[in-house]
Symmetry: C2
Subunit: 540 residues, 2 copies
C-alpha cells in the first residue's frame, strides 16, 4: 500500500526559503568587527544563501563533506549555515576560542574540505597552514578590498566568489537523517568528540525550541544570540528565529557591556541569549554607566548554572524575565526551559526566582530522568541527586565516527551532570559528575557553594573545586574574584555560607584571586583551576 501522507522531509533550506516568502522585509542586523552595523532582509539573506549553495554545487565535493566555518556572529556566517547545509553538506562550526592544538585535532578529525574564515581569525589558521591536508580552499569572509595578506595560505574572497553565482538555487530534497551540522564538544577530558546533527533533528529542534512557551518567537520578536554561532549553532536561534519571522541581531565579536547595551537599545532587542557571565558583565556596565535596557523583556540563560542573585537583579532592576535553559552540544541543544507560567503568579518572588534559576522542565519531545549508580530511576522530590540522562529526537545517539560509546545506555544519553528533579518536573543541575566533591563518601555540591557565595555582595565570581585531602579524600576549596568598591571579609562570607549549607560542606580554604579562567564560551575553566589548586590542602 502506498504511504497515506506525503513524504516531504523538512530541510534547513525550507527555513530560510519560507522566511523569504513569508517575512521578506524582516531584518537581520549584524555588528561587524569594525563596530559598523550591517542590515539586510530575510529576502536578501535567502538570495545570498542560494549563491553559497551554487558555489558549493559547482565544486568537486561529495554530499556529506564537511565545510568548516571559523567565524563569529554575523550575516555571512548565517548565509553559510543555510547555503552549506541546504546543499547537502555539513556545516562544521569551528570554535574560535580553542587552543591551536585542539583546532588542529578537530579539523583533521572532521576532515574539513573548505574553511570559511573571518579576517580577524585568519592567524589561527595560518598557524596550522601545513597541518591540515584535507583542506583545499580557504575563503575569507570579506569584500575584495578588505582581503588580508597571508604568508602561508592561498586565500579566496567570499564576496568575489558569491558575485559569480546565481541568486536562485534548486535545493535538493534531503532525507531527514542527512547530516547537516557538526560541532565538537569542548572535551574537558580526552579529545574533543564530534556531534553530527541531521536535517530532521535540526528543523524539529528549531520548530519546537523557537515556538510558544520556549523562546516564543514571532514577528514582533527581536532576538539577539550573544552565544556564539560556533557554540552549538548559537543554541539553534539562527534556525528557529526565521521560522517565526523574528528579527535577528547578530552581535559579532564585540561582546562588551557598552556594545551589548548599545545594540539592545538601538535595535530594540527584546530577547537575548547568553551564558550567565555575559549578564553579569552587562549588569556591571549598566550600574557603572547608569544606562538602561528597556526593550529587553527576556533573557535565555544556559551553559552554566544561573546564580539566583542575578535572576533577582534582572527582575527587579531591569524588569527582565530570566529563563533558565539547559542543554548540551549533544542535545542540539535545547532540552529543558524554565519558561514563565501562570502558576508563577501564585509564588513569592523568591520562589519564582528559584524556578527561573533552575534548568526548567523538559520541552515537548524530550524526556529526562535521574538514576543511581545501579541504573535505577530516582525520586522526583527536589532533593535526591542522580545522574542525569536524556532522550529525544534531537539527542545524540552516537558520536561522530562512533567514539564515546560509553555515554549511551538503554536508549538514553548519559549527560555527565548530577541533577535533582522536583515534584513539578523542574530539574536543577547540581554538579558535573566530575565536579562533585566526594568527602568521606558523601557528596558536596560545588555549584551550591558557588551560588551562596554569589549572594555575598563583594563576590564577583566564585569557583569551588575538589582538592585532595589526606583524611576525607576530597574537600572543597573556594576561589573568588572580588567586586570593586565592595568590602570583603572572609568571616562574613563564612557566616553566610554557614547559614545556608551543612557545616561539613564549608570550604577548607577560601582564596581571593585576581581573575578566573574562562572557556571561549564564557564558562569557568574549572579543569584549569583544579589543576592549579588540587594539591593546596596536601601542601599544608
Amino acid at each position: 500500500m502506498s504511504e497515506p501522507m506525503m513524504i516531504v522531509p523538512l530541510n534547513t533550506s525550507d527555513i530560510l526559503k519560507s522566511a523569504a516568502l513569508r517575512y521578506p522585509e524582516q531584518e537581520i542586523v549584524s555588528m561587524l568587527a569594525d563596530l559598523s552595523v550591517h542590515r539586510y532582509s530575510y529576502a536578501e539573506a535567502y538570495k545570498r544563501s542560494c549563491r553559497v549553495a551554487n558555489l558549493l554545487a559547482s565544486a568537486h565535493l561529495n554530499q556529506g563533506d564537511r565545510i568548516a566555518t571559523l567565524a563569529v556572529n554575523h550575516y555571512r556566517h548565517l548565509e553559510l549555515y543555510y547555503g552549506i547545509s541546504g546543499q547537502g553538506f555539513v556545516v562544521h562550526t569551528l570554535n574560535a576560542r580553542l587552543f591551536i592544538e585542539q583546532l588542529d585535532y578537530i579539523i583533521n578529525h572532521a576532515e574539513d574540505r573548505w574553511i570559511f574564515v573571518d579576517p580577524e581569525l585568519l592567524p589561527q589558521l595560518e598557524a596550522l597552514a601545513d597541518k591540515i591536508p584535507t583542506v583545499t580552499r580557504v575563503i575569507v569572509l570579506c569584500a575584495a578590498d578588505q582581503m588580508p595578506p597571508s604568508s602561508n595560505l592561498t586565500l579566496e574572497c567570499y564576496e568575489t566568489l558569491l558575485a559569480a553565482q546565481s541568486e536562485q538555487a534548486i535545493w535538493p530534497s534531503l532525507p531527514s537523517n542527512t547530516p547537516c551540522g557538526l560541532c565538537y564538544t569542548s572535551g574537558t577530558t580526552g579529545n574533543p568528540k564530534g556531534v553530527l546533527y541531521e536535517q530532521g533533528s535540526t528543523v524539529l529542534h528549531a520548530i519546537l525550541s523557537g515556538g510558544s512557551q520556549y523562546l516564543d518567537f514571532d514577528e514582533w520578536s527581536v532576538a539577539m544570540p550573544v552565544v556564539p554561532m560556533y557554540h552549538v549553532v548559537a543554541w539553534g536561534v539562527p534556525f528557529s528565529a526565521p521560522i517565526y519571522g523574528a528579527k535577528l541581531v547578530l552581535p559579532g565579536c564585540a561582546l562588551t557591556g557598552p556594545n551589548l547595551q548599545t545594540l539592545i537599545e538601538t535595535e530594540q532587542v527584546n530577547q537575548a541569549f547568553a551564558v550567565p557571565t555575559v549578564w553579569l558583565t552587562l549588569h556591571n556596565y549598566l550600574q557603572e554607566s547608569g544606562k538602561g535596557i528597556e526593550s529587553l523583556a527576556m533573557v535565555g540563560v544556559g551553559g552554566a548554572a544561573s546564580p539566583k542573585a542575578l535572576v533577582k537583579i534582572y527582575a527587579e532592576l531591569y524588569d527582565v524575565y530570566w529563563m533558565g535553559i539547559w542543554g548540551m552540544t549533544e542535545t542540539s541543544p535545547l532540552a529543558t526551559a524554565a519558561n514563565l507560567t501562570p502558576q508563577m503568579d501564585n509564588l513569592s518572588d523568591e520562589d519564582c526566582y528559584a524556578l527561573q534559576a533552575s534548568a526548567g522542565k523538559p520541552i515537548f519531545g524530550i524526556e529526562i530522568e535521574i538514576f543511581d549508580a545501579a541504573g535505577q530511576a530516582l525520586a522526583h522530590d527536589g532533593v535526591t541527586r542522580g545522574e542525569l540522562r536524556v532522550r529525544g529526537p534531537w539527542v545524540l545517539a552516537s558520536y561522530f565516527k562512533g567514539e564515546g560509546a560509553d555515554s549511551f545506555v538503554d536508549g538514553w544519553f548519559i549527560t555527565g551532570d548530577v541533577a535533582v528533579i522536583n515534584d513539578q518536573g523542574y530539574m536543577t543541575v547540581v554538579d558535573r559528575s566530575k565536579d562533585v566533591i566526594k568527602s568521606g563518601g558523601e557528596w558536596i555540591s560545588s555549584v551550591a557553594l558557588e551560588n551562596v557565595a554569589l549572594d555575598y555582595p563583594a563576590v564577583n565570581e566564585a569557583c569551588v573545586i575538589a582538592a585532595l585531602h589526606d583524611k576525607w579524600d576530597e574537600r572543597p576549596v573556594m576561589l573568588i574574584t572580588l567586586r570593586p568598591g565592595q568590602a570583603y571579609d572572609e568571616l562574613a562570607l563564612r557566616a553566610l555560607l554557614q547559614q545556608r549549607v551543612a557545616k561539613w560542606w564549608l570550604p577548607d580554604r577560601i582564596v581571593v584571586v585576581q581573575a578566573l579562567p574562562h572557556t571561549g564560551t564564557g564558562k569557568l575553566r574549572k579543569m584549569d583551576v583544579r589543576d592549579q589548586y588540587r594539591h593546596i590542602l596536601l601542601a599544608e
Copy 2:
C-alpha cells in the same frame, strides 16, 4: 555507520503524557448533552486515556484496526482520540450529521471493528444494526445508570469498561508512518473517500498549527473548538492545545447562540474555532440579547469563505481578531492562515479585514501554487485565477485503499479549489472548481457574488449557483435568506451588486427562500441547491 541522532518518533500518546507532566492542573471543560458542565484536568484525562488504551490492548484486535467514534465534542471523545491512536489503532471519527446511507457506506468501507457512540446518537447506529458486520462491539459513552435501551444492538457501558482497567499504560513506540486517524471527505461527488492520518503527520501538524503565529496556544489560552471533533479532528485543536498547555473547552452538541455565549463568558474563552455560519449565529444572538463576549480575542474561521462584512463586525463590535484559515480533510487540515502581522498596523481597517477574510499565507512546512489547465504555474498578482494545489508533510499522498488517484499529480494534491495568490503570498479561494459559473466561456465567481450580497443589510445568507442556460451554457442564480426586521428591496441589492462586480456577472434571478440547506459541519449544501434550481432559467 550508526545514526547520529536518536530515532524517537513522536507519537500522539506523547502529547497527552507530556501535558499531564507539564500542565497537570490545566483544565478540560465539556458541556454535556444535558447542558451540565464537566471539568477535569490533563492529569485525569491522561489516566483515563491509559484506561482506554488498556481496554483495547486486552482485546483481540490487530494493530491498525479501525475503531470508530460517533460522538460530539466532550472529554470522553478526547480520551478516545488518545487511547485509540496511542495504542496503535486508527481512531475513525464518524460524522454524526451524515445520512444513514453514507454512514452505512463509510463504516463498511473502513471495516470498523468497534464503535464508541454517544447515547443521543445511538438511533443512527440502530438503523444500521444488521448492515455493519465488521463491527463487533458497540460501547456507549455514558455511566452505567445512563445506559439507554436498544432493541437491536448489544450495548456495553464505557464507564463500566474503563473502571476495570488500570490507569497506567505502557505505550508502544510507533514509527512515524503508523496510521492513527481516519476521516472521510464529505463526498459531494461520488462516494466519500477516506483520509488516513499518520502518527508523524498528526504530531507535526499539531506542533506547527498550535504554535506561535498560527493558533498561538500557551498556558494562558482558553481554546474552544466549536468545529466538531468528527470533522477533521476539530481542525487538530484536541492534539495541538495539550502540547502548549492551553485550557480546552469542548462545547458538546449545543452550538446555539446562548450556549456559546455562556461558555465563552463563564470559561473565559479567548480563542474559538468554527465555520462562518456559527459566528453569524452568535452575532445575531448577541445583537438580540445585548450580551457580550469580552474574553474572546481571536476566532479561527475556515470551512467556507469568510464574509468580509462579518470580519468587520467582529473587529468593530466585539474587538475580536478574525483569522481566516484554510485547509481540507486531505491537509490535516491547517495549510494557510491569515494571522495578525506587524504590517497590518500600516493598513487601513478595510484592507486589514480583506486580508483576514482571505485564506492567509502557507504555514511553515506547506507549499501552495496555482496552475492553469495545462499545468503551468500562474502569476501571484491577486487577480489570476488557477487550480490550487498543495504539498507538505501533513498533506495526503493517497486516499484510503488507493481511491481517487486523479487528485495527485507531480507530488501535489489537487484541491479542487480555484484560487488567487497575491504578491504578499496571501491566498484567496474564489470558488470550488465545480462552483464556478462558466458563462459563454468566461468564469463567474459564485463566492464573490455571495460576499457582495452579504454586505446588503437584509441578506442573512446567500448562495449562488450555476443554472443551465440556453445561450450562455450557465448563468448565475442567487438564493438568499433574509434577516428579520430589515427591509428588503431587490433593486437595491442589484444596485449594490452592480457597483462591485462586472455587469455580465449579475445574477439572472434572485430568489428569496425561507432557509438554505447546510451540511453537518455548517457549510451550505450547494449540491442540493443546484439540484433544485439548476433548471430554473430553462423553464422560463
